[in-house]
Structure formats: C-alpha cells, structure tokens
Chain length 622, copies 2
C-alpha cells in the first residue's frame, strides 16, 4: 500500500486507510493480550490518526532510520506502545513474530513503553508530558541548525495536557516559530482513573493552544478524510500546529469503547479474539508511506580540533562558573556544540558562548523542564548540547533528566551556585541535593571542580561523554590551584598534598578543596600531616586514590562537602570503600541543618564544613 499526501484522498484510499487502521487496532489488541499487560484502549483511540500519518504524511525511510531528512515521530503518550509497535510491523520494520512473541518480555526491545532500544524511537517516553518538549528540541535543530525539511510529529494524550511541561513546550514552539512541529492530541476523554479534566472540551484546548502561539486544528479523530486534511495543513503551516483530535478510547471494540476502568488493561483472550474478528481479523498489510525529500548528504565532519582551552594564572581568583563559560566558548569551535540556558546565563556564564555563537545558543527562559528536554532533542539530531541553570533549579527538571538517561541521551548539564557558598541569597537558591540526585541518575557522570583550570579541562571532556554529564560550579572566586595543561581525567582525582606518613586524608571537591588546603596548613602547624585529595570526579570516583589514602593513613579520612549529608560526596566515598576488609573511619562533614543567608565563610563555618571544622575533625581522628 503506497499513498502520497499530494493526491486527493479518494474513496479507495479511504477504504485502504481504514483497513490499515483496523490492522493497527487488531495488532495492538493481540500483542497486549498476548503479553497480559499494556494499554490497548489508549492505542485504539489513536489508530486512525496514526494510520493516516504513516501512510500519507510521515516522510520516513524505515529501512534507514538515521536518514537525515527523515521526519520524527514521538509517542509522547508512551503507554500507547502497542500502537507504535503495530505501526512498526505495518511498515515492515519488525516482524509479526517479534510483535506477538516478545512484547513486554524480558530481553525484548519492544518494552512496555518505547525506548531507543528501537532504532525508530528517538527517546524514551512513558513519563507524560515529555515527548512533546523533546520534539521542540528536535524541531529547533531542524529549523535553526540542520536547515532540513523534516517534520516532527508528537502524539500526545489528553491527560498529559495537564502537565505544565506541555505548555512550556507549546510556548517555546510558538516563540521559536517551529512550523516543523505538530502535536497530535488524542483527546479520548478518559485518563487512567476516570475522565480527564477537560474531557471533550475541544474548544478550551483550542483557545489554550492558540494563546500559546500555536495553530490549533480541531478534527474528528476517526474521520480519515478530516485527519488527512489536518495533517496536510499542519505540514504546510507557517507556525507550529496542534491537531486536536476528538477520539473515543477503545474505539473499535464496543465492549470497552468510551468506558472508564479500561486504562492499561489488556482484553481477556476471549474478548480479544472476538474483537479481532469483529475488526475483520488479522491482516498482512504492508504500508509504504512517503519518503523523505532527498537532501544533500551531510558534509563529512572534519575531525574536531582540540579546543584552545582558556588559561588561568595560578593563584588568580576565578569562579568555576566563569571557567565553564570560557571553556564552553572555546568548545564552540566545534560546530556540533550548542548551548542552552534558563534565563540566567549571566549567572551560569553560558552567556560567554551565547555572545560568541548566537546561532547555536538557545534561550529557554525560566522553564527548566523545557531546557533539559530541548537539550535531549538537540542530541537526537547529533548535536552536543550544554544546558545550564542554577544547580538548585535543575531539580525542577529531575524527571526529565531521569528519562534522558533511559533515552541514552548524551547531554551536558551545568548547575551553578552550588551549596551554602552562594551566601546571602539563602537556601532557595542553593544546590544542596544535586550531587545525590544526579549521582542516582543511571549511567551519569558527576563532576565538581575546585578551580578554573580543572573546570575548563572537565568541560572539554564533557563534550564527548556518553550519558548525562553533570558539572557543578561555584558562585564565588577561588584561587587557581593547577597548571594550565594539567590532566584531569574523568574518574581521576588530584593529590594536592601527600606524603607516605600522612596522618589523615582530607577529601573535598569544589569549594571545600580550598577549605581542606587551609585546614592542612593549620594541622601542619600542630604537627599533623594531612593529605589533601581533590575528588573533582564524584562519579565515577577514583577508588585507587582512596585505597592509597586508606593504606597510608591507617584509614583516617575526613570527607567534607557543601551538600546535604545524604547521597553526596561522602556517600560516594563510602560506597566506593564499602567492601574493604581493613577498617576505615570516615569523619563526614556536610550541611546538616537548614541554611540561611550570610556570607560564604559564615555559612560554611556555620554548617561545619569550614576550615575550623575540618581541623577539628582531623584532630579527632588522629
């Protein structure tokens, strides 16, 4: 079956589209019943929409999913995975056998919710309200960087329209004039536990979408001709579009149509069998939709030159957030590096990149969820995004970071203004749980440099790092500790003071490294020799360095961090040494109370992570 969007939709085509939709329904029912779990009713409501899309509008080379000009199809309502996988069978991407035998089984790439284990899936979905925001990032790449005619189609559920992130996405789509983006909202009126907030109030959806700068197109989501016209209009529109499709949940199976209590429930085998029969039985339709426009092959990227990293004078006072900006600007010599910020680039110092490379800098305003989602979308298109905001405010996007890890996205995040060190602004602005949160992200890298030289060197490595790479930077200015050109491998550490006979090891990262150095000086005056370790790589951690310290000091460690006590640097050290046979005593200094306003020094002292506290802790161990 081949259809072209250019032709008018005749009766025959309508019949064939109806057959295709029936096959999608049948397959969605069959695979979920076979698996004994899944969301058939949420798939049935969108089957007509997707049949028209893949047969006539989605320009996609299914054999070569990385094709540069391929459209992108994102199931923002990831729970409709039976429908997505039914599509994959219909286009010949997967076999009927794979669909029927492996859906939701251990080891299958046809997981309960879509993940990029499938080459046709850009990002993992299943946490609602994320697919469309990621689509915004892909569309940004298409319009502003790739200059390619691909279109991004995001299938959304109506329940997820209650997520603020959807409105962040539509707002940005409007702001950036993303005519290459279409959200298709499957308004089937029923959420998981009952009616959605707006049910079939399409007019309210329409007014909201319009007010947010997108063009709404309201259709009957089961009228194939109307759907076809809507998608045609969406492709030709001069701005972002939202197809608001009134649909019926469970459409095609009278037993469950428009009935609550059927969310996420497969049909029982006998009901399924009857439904499949009523829908005309199993089909073997193979659809070939439109192909992407031929576009020139991408120029072979020249091997990236090592960036000319900024240099700093040893001892000079430089904030690591400034070094982030400097290094990011230096990385800008690579055309695949892009930067984003949440309207605080003069604080995170991402503005240095923005000024040098305005075409590759995306201002996401105060919408941290969209900030991270756009970064994920940009890396789908092969870019290397660096997204920055205050460390504290990355917590706003934690679910997006979590999902980005499941998407196997490669993104760099920079969180500035970490810890009580920020001073007078008070606890709302202090990142104090970010190390715990970011460490717990699957496959993440967590970096926390103490000076400008190490910061720049780490930023340079983040650009090619796999997974979620997080950099924690400090607000205040501290002395440059290292020589330009020093090595700071991820997973490494630095010994700032060391001898074979050290009495104790002082272990810090970021700002507390400076406190450790001062404490070591003070301890030396008391005759206690303290090793000082800069654990700039919090994850992965330099275990060998810790083992050496345990061996040389008799297991006397002071770990000090500008972070709450749980899950941060101290935990990282303890986890790393958990299985050690010899005794290790760790005196762990962290921010245990709720901080207030004050100066950096006052607050670090008050929290017990200042010089005096480190001296006392070391003394107690010796």
């Amino acid at each position: 079956m081949t259809m072209e969007a250019e032709r008018t939709l005749g009766d025959e085509e309508v019949t064939r589209l109806g057959e295709l939709a029936a096959q999608l329904r049948v397959d969605a029912i069959r695979c979920s019943t076979m698996a004994g779990s899944g969301h058939p009713t949420s798939s049935l409501s969108a089957a007509d929409l997707m049949a028209v899309l893949i047969a006539r509008h989605l320009r996609y080379d299914w054999v070569n999913p990385p094709t540069r000009a391929n459209d992108h199809l994102i199931f923002s309502k990831g729970h409709a995975s039976p429908l997505l996988y039914a599509i994959l069978r219909a286009v010949g991407a997967i076999s009927e056998q794979e669909l029927m035998e492996t859906y939701r089984q251990l080891g299958s790439r046809l997981q309960g919710h879509p993940t990029p284990a499938l080459p046709w899936v850009d990002v993992a979905t299943g946490s609602l309200g994320q697919g469309l925001p990621v689509g915004v990032g892909i569309a940004l790449a298409g319009r502003y960087l790739d200059h390619l005619p691909f279109h991004v189609w995001a299938l959304c559920g109506d329940s997820e329209m209650a997520e603020g992130s959807i409105w962040e996405a539509l707002d940005k789509a409007g702001h950036y004039g993303l005519r290459n983006l279409t959200a298709i909202v499957d308004v089937n009126r029923l959420g998981q536990r009952g009616p959605t907030e707006l049910e079939w109030d399409l007019d309210t959806y329409r007014r909201r979408v319009e007010a947010f700068g997108c063009r709404p197109i309201v259709v009957d989501g089961h009228d194939l001709v109307a759907i076809d016209e809507a998608f045609g209009q969406a492709r030709e529109a001069t701005g972002p579009t939202v197809v608001l499709a009134r649909t019926v949940k469970g459409k095609g199976v009278p037993e469950v149509e428009n009935k609550p209590g059927w969310h996420g429930k497969p049909l029982k085998p006998d009901v399924a069998e009857q439904a499949v029969r009523a829908l005309g039985g199993v089909r073997q339709i193979r659809v070939t939709g439109p192909r992407p426009e031929p576009v020139p092959a991408a120029g072979k990227p020249s091997a990236p030159q090592p960036p000319e990293l900024p240099e700093y004078e040893k001892g000079a006072l430089v904030a690591t957030r400034n070094a982030y900006g400097d290094a990011l600007r230096a990385l800008g010599s690579r055309p695949d590096v892009v930067a984003l910020d949440g309207e605080v680039s003069d604080s995170t110092r991402a503005d240095k990149f923005g000024e040098a490379y305005p075409d590759r800098f995306f201002e996401m305003f105060i919408s941290e969820q969209q900030l991270v989602a756009a970064a994920v979308g940009l890396q789908v298109r092969g870019y290397r995004p660096f997204a920055a905001t205050f460390a504290a405010f990355l917590s706003r996007a934690y679910d997006f970071i979590r999902m980005a890890a499941i998407s196997r996205a490669d993104i760099a995040l920079s969180g500035s203004h970490a810890g009580v060190e920020i001073g007078a602004d008070g606890p709302s602005q202090m990142g104090l749980e970010d190390l715990a949160a970011l460490r717990a992200v699957q496959g993440s890298t967590v970096l926390y440099p103490s000076d400008a030289v190490s910061c720049a060197a780490l930023v340079a490595q983040m650009v090619d790092r796999k997974g979620i790479a997080y950099l924690r930077t400090t607000r205040g200015k501290y002395p440059v500790l290292y020589d330009n050109g020093d090595d700071f491998p991820i997973g490494g550490s630095k010994l700032l003071r060391a001898g074979k006979d050290d009495d104790v090891a002082l272990i810090g990262a970021g700002v507390t490294v400076h406190n450790c150095l001062a404490a070591a000086d003070e301890l030396a005056r008391e005759g206690i020799t303290a090793r000082v370790i800069d654990l700039y790589s919090v994850k992965p951690l330099d275990r060998q360095r810790l083992l050496d310290a345990v061996r040389d000091t008799g297991g006397r460690l002071v770990v000090v961090e500008d972070h709450y006590p749980e899950g941060g640097l101290g935990s990282a050290v303890l986890e790393s040494l958990a299985d050690l046979a010899e005794p290790v005593r760790v005196n762990h200094l962290a921010v245990r109370g709720l901080p207030t306003s004050g100066t950096s020094t006052q607050l670090m002292d008050q929290a017990g992570i200042g010089v005096h506290a480190i001296v006392t802790a070391a003394r107690a161990l010796c």
Copy 2:
C-alpha cells in the same frame, strides 16, 4: 494611615497611597544597598501594586498572623524580598532597625528570599513558579474545607510565567473555581539577563489566562486608582482572577528604570542616597489596612482518636500500596487529614480515601508539581495532606519538595510502583532514584515498608510527622510478615531472623526483605546462619541495629535494594557506620544497569537483587 476598600478612592487617598508606595521604594532601596545585595529593581516595579493591596485590600491582622480569617499574601517572586520586608515595616510588623541592620545577614529572619522564619510568610519562595501553585492549595482549603472568606493574593513576576507550573496552577484554579485566589503579575518586561519572552505583550498574557479558566484584569501597575479598582474586582469576582499589571522595572529611579543589567543588583550607596532623596526621603508611615472579617473561632479540635488501622492476616498476599490506601482511609476519621493524587489513585490506592471522604480528596490530574504544591498549601491552613503518585513521577516535583522542606512544610508523600519490581511497564515507570532524592531533602523522613502491617503502622505515624515524610510502596503482592499491632517506630527496624552467632546480616527494605528471607533459608541449608534486618525506616536509620549486626557478625553485611546503587539504602547504611573503628565489609546489591521490561522476579534476578544474588553475596563474605 487607615483606608477601607469600601470607600471610593479620593484624591487625598491617592496621595497617601503614593506616599506609602514611595516609602516602600525608599526602604527597598535602602535595605538592599545596606546589605550590598538583593533585588531592588524587582521591588520598585511592584511597589504601587503592594501599596494599594496592603492599605486597602489585604484583610490582615498583622499582630496575629495565625488569625483564621487573615488573607494570605505570597511573594511568588521571592526575590522581591526588599519590598516584602518594606511592607512588614510599613505595617509595624518589624522595626526599621531590623530591616536596615539585618537584611540578608547571618542569623536574620529577613533572608535573601522569604522563608517562614517570619510569621507573616506562609512558605519559602525563590524558586520561581512555586508561590502561585502553593496559593492554589491555600485557596482550596479556604473554599472547600475552611469555608472562610479569606483571599489569597500571590505576587508573581513575569519571568516566572514561563514556568509550566504557573499554568498547572491557573488550570487548577479555574477547574476548582477558586474565586478566593488572585495572582498579581508584575509585568516589568525585564528578566534577569534581558527582556522576558513576552515583554509587555499584555494581550497574550490575557488570552492565556482566560483560556486557562481565570479572569484577567489588565491594568497600568503604576496607576493607583486603576490598581485599586482591579483588586476590588478581583475580590468580588466569581472565579479566580489574574491582575496583569504593566509595570516598569526600577520604577521611581530614573538611573535604572526599564534598563537591562540591573536585575539583582543593589544601587551603589551614592546612587541610592540620591534616589531616596528624589523619592522624598525616608518616611515613617504606618499603615493599617483592612482587618479580616470576624469569623467564629475554630471549634477546639478534639484530641484525635487513634485510627482503627486495617488488619491483615499473616502470610496473606497484600501489596503495600493497598495498605497505604487502607491506612489512609482509616486516618480519614481525623478531619484534618486530606489526600491528593495525580490521576493515578487506582494505582497508588489513594482512591480508597477518595471514595470514603470525597470532600477531602483533591484530584490534581497529571500535574505532579501542582500536586505537591497543593499539599504544601493545605498544610499552611493546618491540614495534614497525603499526596500520592508513582515514585518515579514524584521526581517531576523534586524542586517543589526541596522548597517545601525550606518552607518547613509538614507533608506526607507516597510513591508507589518502586523499583524494577513493577515488571513489564519498563524503566520509565520505575522509581529507582527516589530514595536518594528524598533522603537528600533537608529534614526528611523516608520509609519503605516490606509488608502491609508495617506499612499501615507507618502511614499512621506520618500524619503527625514534621517535615517531608516519604513512603515508598510496592506494586506487587507479598506475604504479610508481621502481627497486627506490632510496633514500627520511625527510626526503628525489625529483626526477622537473628542469633548471637550469625555469620552474616542480610539487610533489606521493602520488596528485598522478602528476597533476604528466602536467601536466609537457602543459606541455612548450606550451614550459613544469616540475620535478616528489615530497615523499613531508611531515614532516620536504626544505627543501633546495625551496630549490633556488625558486632555479632564480625562486620559482614549484605545490603540489598531495589534502587540504583547511589544514595539509597546502601548509602544510608554506610553513612550510618562511617565513623566506626572496627572493620565492616558491606556487599551492596543494587540495580546497576538500565532495566527493561520483564516479570518482577526476572528483573530482580537480572539486576542482581534476587534471592540467588543475595545468597552468593553472603557466601562471598563468609
């Protein structure tokens, strides 16, 4: 100065309001210049709005902030704290000396951003887009629970209108018909690093607000008469209102008026002095605004009866999420207990409460940020909210939970569907970083029961717990392990198997307790005696129990958790034993790879947290 909203605003009153606004401006300038930091320009834009509000519309007894019928004033744009504190001086709540000498200083309650260290401040703000959502919770209490005529006024910045959470809030305000809620948006056109997305496009704001079910009232934010009319209309409106005020950032100080580059910067002393002079100098106006309507005193609450907790048969298969619902329903006998859910109450089993107490159950649909914010607002009014969604999706509200801790809010959160145990739905639905994230919240409590009896007992204690109390529940059904009526103190643990000569201790929580028990049985057949500890209280942790285990087993511990390896149960155990002098060897089993779909048992086995892995780990230690 006393004015009443009932009177028409005459010339004399306008003059006096102008004087009050000038005093607010002068004080905001003075205190931030004195502190050397702060946000005067963001305060100047809203001074006229606030002068009219406090003098004529905010019904508030400043001497008795807990007065039941007091209005609520929330600075959602918390960075305008100089203006808030200038108000507090103008109403006589704080002295000029406190304002001038302590703002942003260590130990002061006048912190960089407002916190409830001040009795007139309901919640901490400073992470944008949170004050209004919390206001929705307060207004829900006013309209549906208190039935009191107070009004909630939230001063918002225009930058924060880009946060999706603002639209979640307005959506819920409209949905619940919160006529007692008014957002006042200070549209001063300039964000931190430059123009806002919409600048002075008041018409777009108007259309958005209207589409989200609220009544927009557009005014010139420096026209005192217009402002007064707008607030009068807001108070009398039949639904939620949004006063969209076009303002000028830095208004009143020509050097900075409407100029970028002045966000978050105090005026230099000489500029400040000149500005104060131009504004007419320091004033000593004391304003008394309208008082709250007299309302009947609250009935003295009867001492809450201990709830009749659900009982379970030992050995019966019960999911802890079901026990959550059962216990919550039992707690419903207390009239201050309220419950909220994010449209998944049939999964979290909050529906059990919702069915029994529909008047105290708030459906927040799929908007987890608003879910948590509403809980925070409800506890402002003295209620004991329980908010539930999937553990994975609480990550969506992490910034709100972080801020709730700074607000010293007492809320209970329930995250269901924890870990790989959920099975076929796949990683997007699995809470696998929640223990790390929630443990890192300041002052939090983290509970993870293994069976229905302990779960119910813990839920009963959460109701009076201070701070953020998090309960992690499991999807599947597991045997009841404990006797009804057993004690499960927060901070405690349970010994399920123990002897003086135990070779090793198996430590689990939640679902892994069951795996530990099975492993102990298997180990016993090999002649290895294993202690089994149920660490149902992950924070605070039962350190003594661990010390006993270390002593009795020679420091051989296996910790097993259905969570990523960083920051969870294993870290909690290690942190607790960090300073121990004797050797402890911990074999830490956790979910190290990215999970997929599968059955519970398959996935636990694959992750290395199943019975076989525990046996192997214990054997390796012995």
